[in-house]
């Protein structure tokens, strides 16, 4: 059963400066005693605070909130990249995170090779990817360019490639970050059908975005993040309504 279970989870980031990053300072600090210990105190940013969340199979959850509200951090928590500093996060199922389409792409190797590496990273086997390569090649419409090194690609071509790979796999848990919407809106428009298919195939979707239209097309429920905590959770329209109301309210005041 595909599900995500988060209980009392917090994510604290230590912010190291040059001093606390240094072994020399840390070692000397231990020998030096109290004074140095105070001086080398590490600042901690609480990115997520006491998150309680249950997402089960079939859920299509939208994440909304201002920049820095903790949406991306929450997605990384749900994907298992960050393990909570306290509390627990239990992820049941194979995760396909789509946070940044450019990461993990190697500019020196060809598009085809990049497809393979991407797929392997997403937990596919070599055989599975070989079976999908033709389909991906067709979707990207890159033709002979697939044999060229990735550094010769334009940004749009890279996005096609990355989106082609991601939408060709069958994820149990699909985590999408707004970044993909920001990269190339016109292509996303074209890829929407494929994205929808992907979402339908996925057992569970969590999608962080600032685009209400996109959210309405893909999601059914929503979660409003604010200052690293959950502000509101419920049906999409309800949460979007109060989120937008709050935002309009804030702008009209300020």
């Amino acid at each position: 059963m595909v599900s995500i279970d988060v209980r009392d989870a917090s994510v604290d980031f230590p912010i190291f400066d040059a001093k606390s990053r240094s072994l020399k300072h840390t070692v000397l600090g231990v020998v030096g005693g109290n004074v140095a210990a105070n001086a080398s105190k590490v600042i901690v940013i609480e990115a997520l605070h006491n998150i309680n969340l249950h997402v089960s199979e079939g859920d299509r959850l939208a994440l909304v909130g201002h920049n820095g509200a903790g949406k991306s951090t929450l997605l990384r928590l749900l994907s298992g990249i960050y393990e909570p500093t306290s509390g627990e996060a239990r992820v049941n199922g194979r995760v396909a995170p789509v946070f940044d389409l450019g990461v993990g792409m190697d500019p020196e190797i060809s598009g085809l090779e990049n497809i393979m590496v991407r797929g392997l990273f997403l937990g596919m086997s070599r055989k599975q990817m070989e079976a999908r390569v033709d389909d991906i090649a067709e979707f990207t419409e890159l033709g002979n360019f697939l044999h060229m090194p990735l550094r010769t690609y334009s940004t749009g071509m890279r996005v096609r490639l990355a989106l082609g790979v991601v939408t060709s796999i069958d994820p149990e848990i699909l985590l999408l970050d707004e970044g993909i919407g920001a990269v190339d809106a016109s292509f996303l428009e074209r890829a929407k059908g494929r994205l929808k298919d992907l979402v339908d195939r996925a057992g569970l979707l969590v999608f962080a975005s600032h685009s209400d239209d996109l959210l309405k097309q893909l999601c059914t429920s929503a979660l409003w993040m604010e200052h690293g905590t959950i502000r509101q959770q419920g049906p999409l329209d309800e949460v979007l309504g109060s989120y937008n109301h709050g935002r309009d309210h804030a702008t009209s005041e300020g």
Binding site: L23, V30, V31, G104, V117
Partner: protein, 300 residues
Amino acid sequence: MSSSRTREAAPAGSGGPAESRSGGAGSAPIPTGRNFRSAFADLRRGWDQRELWLHLGWQDIRQRYRRSVLGPIWITISMAVTAIALGILYSGLFGIELATLLPHVLVGMIVWAFISGCITEGSEVFVANTGLITHLPAPISIHVYRLVWRQTLFFAHNLIVYAVMLVAFPQPLRWTDLSAFLAMALLIVNGTWVALLIGIVSTRFRDLPPVTQSLVQLLFFLTPIVWMYDVLLDNPAVAERARLVELNPLFHFVEIIRRPMLGQDQEWRTWIIVGGIAAVGWAVTLLVMRRYRSRVAYWV
């Protein structure tokens, strides 16, 4: 000097809040938290994804020399040239026969390239993969496996020089010298924990990679690669001091594989020391993995 006065200070790392209630329950979720189960799970899941890191390690090598005519032969050529130059120089300086010293230097340098590669690249293994670690959920061990695999490929590649050397300077090889393969396996096992341990610690403390690099440079001179331990032992004036080399763990790492590769008699002592270091090293690394594995994504 004043360490006797210093009180027991709290361990660095600012401690982590209690957690990891993740008991038995279902087998589907990936074990998390600061326990041995999740540390082992990381190593095992990384191993299961070997299709990925075998591919990446192989690609690392091809890519580094993609646009050069000679390709990866470059590494091998530069290694051979350095070894031959040093062999000629030091055989003159020490008055040792070239036929004795050159194979010694050459094999020593091939082995050293593997050892130093695991240590110095290990100190940057997670920092260099920041993008992948913070964007794709994967066991951290795959980055280490990829590194060690890449170094192993380099090593295999450098064996070309060794093969040429065997033709020019035949060595008295016997069947028992096939133990070199077992020795290499032990070196790989050791290289893995070293890269993992140094990788985790130097992700937290960023001044470690440069320190590591200088230290490895220094160790090169402290390890009998361009000079010969046996020759020093024969000289009563320095024999006593030369014995200090035994304290250098890397001396044993080189000896365990160089001796069979040159058809020399091996000592059980070397195998016991290298095996012992592997056991202790892995024990320490697992302790560090248990406590800090989940922190790597936060630190990079």
